[in-house]
């Protein structure tokens, strides 16, 4: 009885082995899933076979991408960190031997009191205001719009496409449109506000302490469709059963929103907010298109500050120091992002 069973098993193994042999020849190193491998012995055999020689095809496939990333991402980051320890001016650009090693002096300048330190502080402040205000508005607008348009029907489909307009238009164009709208004399924003009797004097948006507002508005107008689309996808993935169950329990709208909708959106929002923080904090285009090389101090966000330090005053050493600091902050955020992404996968 036992012998018979064993013989039968052996036979099955042999059959499987033939199939697997075929597969092995054909694509030995493709991702093999355990379900099409019969028994344990065979699996072991397969693994041993795989170990014998290394397959170079995947490495050949990723090689060009790796090479490009090496030259445009990895090497420059190392160079950037290196330069932040040098006194690297425009002369050094022609002849690297003229760049002296000055240790942490570049960094020290930003944390001491002096014009550089003050400028740095004010630009950090501008960046913080810019990022936080944009982020809050983008997420709130996106969430509200997503809840409004989470409906079936032709009208809603067209509206969804229309809502994306801000996202498709080139950034530069968005910047110029909003700049011309915020002009104090000929711009429509002051005109509308004056017609509604909210103000009686034209406000100077483009200069002075309010100058951070136009870039924020332009950035929100450009970026909120991203939040809208992401959150809409999130809303549509929430199973209807949950709401039905809540109906049975007699929950009202508000309860459903806070107990079902928001928690379900949390995972998707986490990743989205991370991306938005990185994009907004390092957004260069809006301030640059509106103010060019000489933004007012209130709107001198860090990316523009770094850019002007590099290409207007030609002090690459100091600019690289700020870049390196920024890179560290962003790296921290990235680690958080990657971790939350993998957590999501596990869930």
């Amino acid at each position: 009885m036992l012998k018979q069973l064993w013989r039968r098993r052996k036979k099955r193994y042999r059959q499987n082995w033939i199939i697997i042999k075929e597969n092995c020849c054909a694509f030995s190193f493709m991702e093999m899933r355990s379900e099409f491998i019969g028994g344990r012995i065979v699996k072991k055999l397969l693994i041993q076979r795989n170990k014998k020689k290394r397959d170079w095809l995947p490495f050949v496939c990723i090689f060009p991408a790796l090479l490009a990333m090496l030259f445009i991402h990895f090497i420059p980051s190392v160079i950037g960190i290196g330069i932040s320890f040098l006194n690297f001016s425009s002369e050094a650009l022609r002849d690297w031997s003229k760049a002296d090693y000055i240790g942490l002096a570049n960094y020290a300048k930003f944390f001491s009191s002096g014009t550089t330190g003050d400028q740095f502080l004010s630009s950090v402040k501008a960046s913080l205001i810019y990022t936080i205000a944009s982020l809050v508005l983008i997420v709130l607008l996106g969430l509200f719009a997503a809840m409004l348009l989470n409906q079936e029907g032709r009208v809603y489909r067209i509206l969804r496409a229309v809502f994306l307009i801000g996202w498709i238009l080139p950034n530069v164009v968005t910047g110029y449109i909003w700049k011309s709208m915020f002009l104090s004399e000929s711009g429509p924003i002051n005109a509308i506000l004056m017609k509604m009797n909210i103000i009686d004097q034209p406000i100077y948006w483009i200069v002075g302490p309010l100058s951070i507002i136009p870039p924020i508005v332009a950035n929100v107008w450009r970026s909120w469709p991203f939040a809208f689309i992401t959150l809409l996808a999130g809303l549509q993935s929430i199973p209807q059963d949950l709401y039905d169950a809540a109906d049975v329990d007699g929950a009202n709208r508000l309860q459903k929103f806070f107990n079902i909708t928001l928690p379900s959106l949390f995972a998707i929002t986490r990743v989205m907010i991370m991306l938005l923080i990185v994009w907004t904090a390092l957004d260069f285009v809006m301030v640059y298109t509106m103010y060019g090389y000489a933004p007012p101090a209130e709107a001198n966000v860090i990316p523009v500050y770094v850019y002007n330090m590099g290409y207007q005053t030609w002090d690459f050493g100091k600019a690289s120091a700020v870049s390196t600091l920024l890179m560290l902050v962003m790296l921290g955020l990235c680690i958080l992002y990657v971790r939350s992404m993998f957590q999501e996968k596990k869930e």
Binding site: A65, I83, N171, S180, G187, L275, Y288
Partner: protein
């Protein structure tokens, strides 16, 4: 109950109206301003549409700034970027999706990291590196199309790898296995089975890369010169002119936005209709 529903409907449509106003007002302003003569732009009373609309701005923009050249440059650079970026990242995405090899995770995560690191952080070092390189080999690098295309393509690579990888993941392995049993080589199955199935995904990725390259400003400011300048920098020249003619600026803005808006609205259909997931029933 019914009253409540009507109230909700009214609230919904009022909010949608507010959104539409917020979205369309700048677009209308752009269009209206592009029809204004210089005198009308600086009138006391601000109007969205000019009293006497005129199309002169659309004629003048081509001669006051070499817009046609900038437009051509942008188009050329964006198309080359798409081609290079897609070709490079298709293979990498295929490897990440269908092979299991050492370093796969590391490569995937480092691609993700670089995708998140925005260009500002790389701007200075890349510029310095290129200036240094062109001195040591004696060939002009900054200011050429090649430098800009290479930079843009590389900035697109991590993103397109991840995007196409998720498309390749949806193609069941059974299909590739079937191809292999019928005698395709591993690259053969890729070209004959995986690629055609992933075509909509690749098209969508290509569109994103095109938008990325078309909209880029930062690197264009330092890596271009008069002959290779893209429109994103060229638009500044309308503002620099001492008359500050916003009519011409807005007319040019409409012209440069047109390709991308057209692309988006054509692609929307393709993305919806092209999702051929489930060609093998699991």
């Amino acid at each position: 109950m019914k009253k409540n529903k009507i109230k909700l409907g009214v609230f919904r449509w009022i909010s949608i109206g507010c959104f539409l106003l917020f979205i369309l007002l700048p677009v209308l302003w752009m269009f209206g301003t592009s029809l204004k003569s210089p005198a009308e732009q600086y009138q006391k009373e601000v109007r969205f549409f000019p009293q006497i609309p005129q199309w002169d701005n659309y004629k003048k923009i081509w001669s006051s700034v070499p817009l046609a050249k900038y437009f051509g440059n942008s188009l050329f650079i964006a198309l080359c970027t798409v081609a290079i970026c897609i070709v490079i990242s298709i293979f990498a995405a295929y490897a990440l999706s269908k092979f299991r090899f050492r370093g796969r995770q590391v490569f995937g995560i480092s691609a993700l990291f670089t995708q998140l690191m925005p260009g500002v952080l790389y701007l200075l070092p890349i510029y310095i590196m290129m200036v240094r390189l062109q001195q040591s080999i004696g060939i002009q690098i900054t200011g050429t199309y090649g430098a800009l295309i290479l930079t843009y393509a590389t900035f697109g690579i991590p993103f397109s790898i991840w995007m196409m990888r998720s498309y390749f993941d949806t193609i069941p392995n059974e299909l590739a296995e079937a191809g292999q049993i019928d005698g395709c080589s591993r690259m053969g199955t890729f070209f004959r089975i995986v690629l055609p199935l992933a075509a909509p995904g690749i098209a969508a990725t290509a569109m994103y890369i095109f938008i990325l390259a078309w909209n880029e400003v930062l690197f264009a400011t330092v890596l271009t010169n008069e002959t290779t300048r893209t429109y994103a920098i060229g638009l500044r020249e309308f503002e620099k002119q001492y008359t500050k003619d916003y009519g011409q600026l807005m007319a040019a803005s409409i012209i440069v936005s047109a390709p991308i808006v057209a692309l988006f609205f054509t692609f929307q259909k393709l993305i919806v209709s092209g999702l051929t997931g489930g060609s093998v029933k699991e």
